[in-house]
């Protein structure tokens, strides 16, 4: 039976059903429904909910809970996620499985509370200090939010790494029908955890500190061998580009749904375009751009930012196609007609194109 649920609530209930036993958070719009939900549900589900003294406090509590071997989660929104970066780096350095959810809002600074995708760099480049990445999932529906929480916990446990779910405020706030499908957690050995050895096994230590260069280097090499495995097995993308499509539009999260409407609009005008939707933004599905149908002539990246994913798309395209960009920021959300208009401009013969321009207000560079 389906229920009508907000993205934020779906993430919370999914976490509980995925076996999350410890949630630590701190209020910030537009993710407040999540700690609110946990505050209500966590006790009856036999877990721990703490509203920490700050975002920094919350992520370090997550470090502790993960070290103790339980499934644990924290959530926040952009400025709060920025505050957590030190703790996320420590968790990555100590190879601790945990899930961090960013219900992103516009920035920089305090910015505003409306939706944005301007935390892409932060989410996909590690975010904190040191050499590390966090597998990052970018769902686009409430159902996918639900499914991705189970997946994010599994990937975290399987590879001993912090994982991230990246959505924008829109998806956190909107309601959609949700099938609350359950999936059992993967079975992993957590004999590394620090849950009290009672003299029965050698002492475990969880730390990201390592003062011997060669030792730390080997730990980093090992972590990157793990990242190679993740890239190989866990990259996710929805590729709807069909033969005949002239433009492939790359978008993730809720904005990818706006692109779907734009593609329909264009189809009614006889213009064929298709959507490439990265579901993991790290690892990024670079390979998808090397096997597109021969009809594709252009790539358009549509984001609620000044063009952060463009860099990854260019790396994937590797010079094969011209890469264009359309974005809005500050909490402004593009409409389907803006995207379809951009596609029409791209497809105009070159001599009809106006001179290159930078139109900062529209985020079109």
């Amino acid at each position: 039976m389906k229920v009508l649920m907000k993205g934020n609530d779906a993430i919370s209930e999914a976490a509980i059903q995925a076996g999350c036993k410890a949630f630590f958070g701190y209020p910030i719009t537009p993710q407040n429904e999540i700690p609110e939900y946990f505050s209500r549900r966590m006790e009856e589900s036999g877990g721990v909910f703490i509203q920490a003294e700050s975002e920094v406090g919350a992520i370090n509590m997550v470090y502790g809970a993960a070290a103790a071997g339980v499934r644990t989660m924290t959530t926040s929104s952009s400025p709060g996620i920025a505050l957590k970066q030190e703790g996320i780096s420590f968790a990555a350095g100590a190879d601790l499985p945990c899930v961090i959810v960013n219900v992103a809002r516009c920035g920089p600074g305090l910015g505003g509370i409306l939706p944005a995708q301007s935390d892409y760099f932060q989410a996909t480049r590690g975010g904190g200090h040191g050499d590390y990445y966090t597998p990052t999932f970018a769902p686009s529906t409430v159902q996918e939010c639900w499914d991705m929480v189970f997946h994010a916990f599994d990937i975290a446990d399987k590879y001993r790494t912090p994982t991230m779910i990246l959505i924008e405020g829109m998806l956190g706030q909107m309601m959609e029908p949700l099938e609350m499908t359950k999936r059992p957690p993967i079975k992993v050995d957590k004999s590394w955890c620090v849950d009290g050895n009672a003299g029965k096994r050698p002492r475990n230590t969880i730390t990201s500190l390592s003062l011997y260069a060669e030792v730390l280097e080997e730990m980093n090499f090992a972590r990157f061998r793990k990242y190679e495995e993740i890239k190989k097995h866990e990259t996710m993308v929805e590729n709807n580009v069909k033969d005949g499509d002239k433009v492939a539009i790359v978008a993730y999260g809720t904005p990818s749904r706006i692109v779907i409407n734009a593609i329909e609009e264009l189809k009614n005008d006889g213009i064929q375009a298709g959507l490439i939707r990265p579901i993991t933004v790290w690892p990024f599905p670079y390979d998808v751009f090397q096997s597109l149908p021969a009809s594709v002539e252009h790539i358009l990246v549509a984001e609620l930012s000044m063009g952060q994913m463009v860099e990854d798309v260019r790396l994937g395209v590797n010079g094969k196609y011209p890469v264009h960009f359309y974005g809005r920021t500050g909490g402004v959300i593009f409409e389907p007609k803006e995207i379809s208009q951009k596609v029409r401009e791209i497809l105009k013969p070159a001599r009809e194109l106006p001179p290159a321009r930078v139109e900062m207000g529209r985020g079109e560079v």
């Binding site: 009508l4 509370i113 409306l114 829109m170 309601m175 029908p177 809720t254 749904r257 706006i258």
Partner: protein, 175 residues
């Protein structure tokens, strides 16, 4: 596909009104999205949500044009959203708080919702009076569908005792 906007003052029950309509549609097997305007708002401030009901998978959950049904609980809502209506769309206005709508492009139904709600027993059920507009003018759902959702949504909570008042408000709107 039916694209709707519910709009009014914060505290008028706008969001829950949209949620009830979306829930009924979901239970009838439709694809639905419910998208609130969220921002630094307060009781008495403006508030709206967009609901889309469709037989197909829904792309963008945002409604900024081609509105098929507008439920306007106050005058600012009419001013803001009337220009976004699709031709032949339906405007349900709370005429207790809105001026007469003169627009040949749209079908208008006026319900004296706030006053009717006051007579029924509480100004806070004005949103339920507006549901009568759906029953009169659309074939999206029937009274029993609303009652079923009200009972599911509020039956287990402290507001359980208020369900009869809500139903009375809808019935008063139908008269």
């Amino acid at each position: 596909m039916t694209r709707m906007i519910f709009s009014g003052y914060g505290g008028q029950g706008i969001l829950v009104l949209g949620e009830i309509v979306a829930t009924i549609a979901m239970k009838k097997g439709k694809h639905v999205t419910w998208m609130p305007s969220y921002g630094p708002e307060m009781r008495g401030g403006t508030c709206n949500c967009a609901v889309i009901i469709s037989d197909k998978i829904i792309g963008s959950p945002i409604v900024l044009s081609e509105v098929d049904i507008l439920v306007a609980m106050n005058q600012p809502s009419v001013t803001k959203f009337l220009p976004l209506m699709s031709k032949g769309g339906l405007v349900m206005a709370n005429s207790s708080l809105t001026e007469k709508i003169d627009d040949s492009n749209v079908d208008v139904i006026e319900l004296d919702a706030t006053n009717i709600a006051g007579k029924v027993g509480s100004l806070r059920v004005a949103n339920m009076v507006m549901l009568a507009g759906f029953l009169k003018k659309t074939e999206l759902f029937e009274l029993n569908d609303i009652i079923e959702v009200l009972e599911e949504r509020f039956g287990g909570s402290r507001s359980k005792d208020l369900i009869p008042l809500n139903v009375k408000a809808i019935e008063a709107g139908l008269k």
